[in-house]
């Protein structure tokens, strides 16, 4: 493991940690504004609720934010291991891919389901091409991470054969 890679991993970790703070802070602020009925009142920002009532939209936003933060935490875990000298950390990468996939899935499904639970009359699912592409890419990333995990296990076994 070269020092350049360790340094790059450390820098990326700082950026990711800042991203986690931004995601959590942004989600709480936006969910709070939605719950208070101020979707237009976040300075220059406007929160898109796609016709949902405030509470389901706020809860959905918060849940997606938490899942996204969990994905980034896994990324931080992976980068810490790289900084410590591990050439590859498969388990955190798999966790990152899984939480990212769940965040995308939650962003599609959670709001309409919560709307229904909060008294909505029918379930309306809006899946755009971008959403489908994100689901495919994050699902593929999870699969590739699982393959890499298996490859690392085989490499570990091989390293214990003298």
């Amino acid at each position: 493991m070269t020092n350049d890679i360790r340094l790059a991993a450390r820098r990326l970790r700082y950026v990711t940690q800042a991203g986690i703070a931004l995601v959590i802070g942004g989600s709480i602020a936006a969910a709070g504004a939605l719950a208070a009925g101020r979707a237009d009142g976040l300075g220059v920002l406007r929160i898109e609720t796609e016709g949902l009532t405030p509470w389901p939209a706020a809860l959905s936003l918060l849940a997606v934010g938490i899942l996204l933060a969990a994905a980034l935490l896994q990324l931080v875990r992976m980068l810490r291991q790289v900084e410590a000298g591990a050439s590859f950390a498969a388990a955190p990468l798999r966790g990152f891919a899984l939480f990212l996939f769940l965040a995308v899935l939650a962003s599609i499904l959670l709001a309409p389901l919560l709307d229904l639970a909060f008294g909505g009359r029918r379930l309306v699912l809006a899946v755009s091409g971008g959403d489908a592409l994100m689901l495919f890419v994050t699902g593929l990333l999870f699969f590739v991470a699982k393959l890499l995990d298996e490859a690392q296990r085989v490499a570990d076994d091989a390293s214990q054969i003298v």
């Binding site: 214990q160 054969i161 003298v162």
Partner: protein
């Protein structure tokens, strides 16, 4: 583990040193030490052959199966 490595016994019988054996086989002393203590998952035929050559013994002299119960 059911398979016991008796490399240390053979080394003692032949009055050979681990360092020399490691150099002959082409593995590190650390790996040889791990092999002696049985803390490896396997041994290559190539490694086994060289150890047998150096110690003038059979694989059965180095590896012994001992039933657990």
């Amino acid at each position: 583990m059911a398979i016991t490595v008796r490399l240390d016994v053979m080394l003692a019988l032949r009055k050979a040193r681990s360092k020399d054996l490691a150099a002959y086989v082409g593995i590190t002393e650390t790996n040889l030490s791990l092999l002696k203590s049985g803390r490896v998952k396997g041994i290559r035929f190539e490694t086994l052959e060289k150890i047998c050559q150096y110690l003038d013994c059979q694989p059965g002299d180095l590896l012994v199966w001992e039933p657990d119960a």
